[in-house]
Symmetry: C2
Subunit: 453 residues, 2 copies
């Protein structure tokens, strides 16, 4: 416990410097969707790692953004904890809604504002600073630590699978801390043990070679109608997905998982107010709503367009129609399986006149709630925050967790130093300095606790 | 017949002047959709009427474009023929596809090019010149002639009903010649005895107050899905319109009408080639296709939009969704009736979450094929063109014919001096000078023939 006191004292004494480091990283744009500032940000991350005391490597495939790797070995144990983070950020649009510039790193009322402050630069810096705090006080780390810092997380990590394949040994570890997390409105630390998978597709139907006067509607095929009927054959009003075999591989949550879901606080009224909704879909509420959110696969129309969409009316049969859909998948569904079933379903339902394009996809991934590492992280979180941890057996979001899970099988838990009003992916993204520092102490404690398991 | 020889001789001798008059009118833009040149064009039409020898009146409501009215009484009969025309034109877009300026009135290879050359300035001038030819040769017209020249036909004639109500006596007549028509590819004159009705609506569904991350799809209502299911409840894949009572007032075509439809030449392959279609909707072909085109009501998605429609994918639940629809109606359906049934149908099908906006609407209108006036026009057309007339009991298009039909009950037949490659409503609209002159003689003959019935 002596070590830890010194470590905590170092964190408190240097918190202003930690904030400066984070602001420096936030000020470096790194928008993967637009290819802005990627190389510069990767180099800055490597520099920060080196200053921390890590051995580093930039992993650069022929295509794709660099992955920054860093590691430090412990003199005390062979155990290894790996951190997965990412230095790329979402585009800052709509820019006009930011109070200060999205890459200004301005501090207002105890919060650092900027794109990436919470997602994910804050977590990355917090973890580096936890390592630094050991090295500057004890002179060693309690466990071996590895960092894998992705440059394409916000665009679906299209090259990460190849990076893992080509660096299999480098990323081996005993357990992984994933990139995101924080405390809830009551200050309880949250742990996420998995991610849903996702499959994004585009459906396109063509009609005549040009828009045709709608007086000719009895003779001219209308791609907008075809698309409507196609979509209707994919999901019905009861939210049942009608693709043959869609639910075949859905593994129902275990008794333990359901128990943990029961324990999750869920402020549904606040959320409905924020969304301006009188009620949730299918009037779901309470634990039923939360269970659906976490455990149900879904099929969403993200966008649809055809023909004339301006003011007033224009009497045409449109020449083309397009819809974008995503499927959120749960264990043990896979996007490859579901894409094949979608193609077959549309063909078998008589919709041969559709062109289906596959966009991004990730598999679902999950670490069992009774895994020893989960219990370690939960206990450490309770000690660090003074409140019992909230355990999400799965998060409704998606990410490349399955790539690590499939390649190594190690337990993966997602925790972080964020807070509920962080505006992740939205204007005025921010990170509370207090949460940032508290989260750094939590990671420091976790390094010690994990070394003792 | 003596009179007519002189009239025809006058037409031949003055055809160059007739063309000059039409070019003068084409060069005056009159785009009702944009309010361009309307007043100037109305004044020019009145001037041309006065030069012809008509008594004129400009009918100007508090709102709307002026209607130009002109008349001349015959010394020989009390019979009156009314011409319905319009001086307004469609916008010339896309302008870059015109070979000469849309308002240049350039002559190339025997055709006058310009927006409105065929629709409807050519017909208007042809009719005025037929009257002029009598006055300049015989010194009288065979029948009383009235002209009602609309300034809002291309935008749905929103004020014409009021104009008629306030000028009931002025527009009385024994029969009406409607604004459009011409010869087909074989040079046969075509008669149109009616128009379908139309009802244009917009459906809008709202969800959350903002786009929401699609990870939350199990809880957030998706207006795009609601709209898809709503549309699916309006029409099915067999093209059956599912609105309760939609077909109740459909009056099947009579035996005589079917007989005339059988006689209509229908170059379907040429049309499919032009549209790039392997087959028509529901594989319709031949007389069945033509009958569907002329006699079936239809429901068309003109446009639909929701959410993200750009490149790649964006994982959102959209906050709003909108579709534009038109219904083409046949006798004895009315837009008022169908709008009410649509509203009830959606409500009764559980779609209370839709906002329905009504745009333009017109009733269908039809003159019976066995009406004496129809037979007169058909016989005259055969004499004028040397080929048997093709009679369309109804045209698939729409227009304000019902306003006159409902108010006066007189027979209305649409004929004109256009030709198949006139590019009406499209770039490079034109009128063949030969068709224009032939059509003028046809109208001159019709004035005489009608006076003798």
């Amino acid at each position: 416990m002596e070590n830890l006191e010194n470590v905590y004292a170092y964190i408190d004494a240097n918190s202003r410097d930690f904030v400066e480091t984070l602001i420096q990283l936030v000020r470096q744009p790194s928008i993967s969707a637009k290819g802005e500032g990627i190389q510069e940000c990767a180099e800055l991350v490597e520099k920060l790692m080196k200053e921390t005391g890590l051995t580093t490597r930039i992993i650069q495939l022929e295509e794709g953004n660099p992955v920054v790797y860093g590691e430090i070995r412990s003199g005390e144990t062979d155990k290894t904890l790996l951190f997965y983070d990412h230095y790329d950020v979402q585009p800052p649009d709509p820019i006009e809604q930011w109070i200060s510039g999205p890459f200004s790193g301005e501090i207002r009322e105890g919060k650092i504002y900027g794109r990436g402050a919470s997602d994910n630069k804050g977590n990355l810096v917090s973890r580096l600073k936890a390592v630094e705090s050991y090295l500057k006080t004890v002179g060693d780390v309690p466990v071996n630590v590895k960092f894998v810092v992705d440059g394409e997380e916000e665009i679906g990590s299209p090259h990460l699978k190849q990076v893992i394949n080509e660096n299999k040994e480098l990323f081996s570890a005993d357990a992984v801390i994933w990139e995101f997390g924080g405390t809830d409105r009551e200050g309880r630390p949250c742990l996420y043990l998995g991610l849903k998978g996702i499959l994004s597709v585009e459906l396109r139907v063509e009609g005549a070679v040009k828009d045709v006067h709608s007086a000719n509607a009895p003779l001219v095929p209308n791609p907008a109608w075809r698309l409507v009927w196609m979509l209707n054959a994919i999901k019905n009003e009861k939210e049942e997905i009608l693709i043959e075999g869609f639910y075949d591989n859905v593994k129902a949550p275990s008794k333990e998982e359901l128990h943990y879901i029961e324990e999750i606080p869920f402020d549904e009224e606040e959320w409905r107010r924020e969304l301006g909704l009188k009620e949730f879909l299918l009037k779901r509420s309470g634990k039923e709503a939360l269970k659906a959110l976490l455990c149900n696969p879904s099929c969403t129309i993200n966008g649809i367009v055809s023909g004339y969409t301006g003011a007033g009316s224009k009497t045409i049969v449109p020449r083309t129609a397009m819809a974008k859909l995503d499927f959120r998948l749960v264990p043990n569904q896979t996007p490859t399986e579901i894409f094949g079933k979608l193609v077959n379903h549309l063909r078998n339902s008589g919709f041969k006149d559709v062109k289906i394009t596959k966009y991004g996809s990730t598999d679902p991934a999950k670490t069992p709630v009774n895994d020893k590492f989960v219990q370690t992280v939960a206990k450490t979180a309770e000690k660090a925050y003074g409140k019992k941890a909230v355990i999400y057996p799965i998060s409704p979001g998606s990410g490349p967790m399955h790539l690590f899970k499939n390649a190594y099988g190690y337990p993966i838990v997602s925790v972080g130093c964020s807070h509920p009003e962080a505006n992740v992916h939205a204007p005025n993204e921010n990170l509370e300095i207090e949460s940032f520092i508290k989260g750094t102490k939590f990671i420091a404690l976790l390094l010690q606790d994990f070394s003792r398991t």
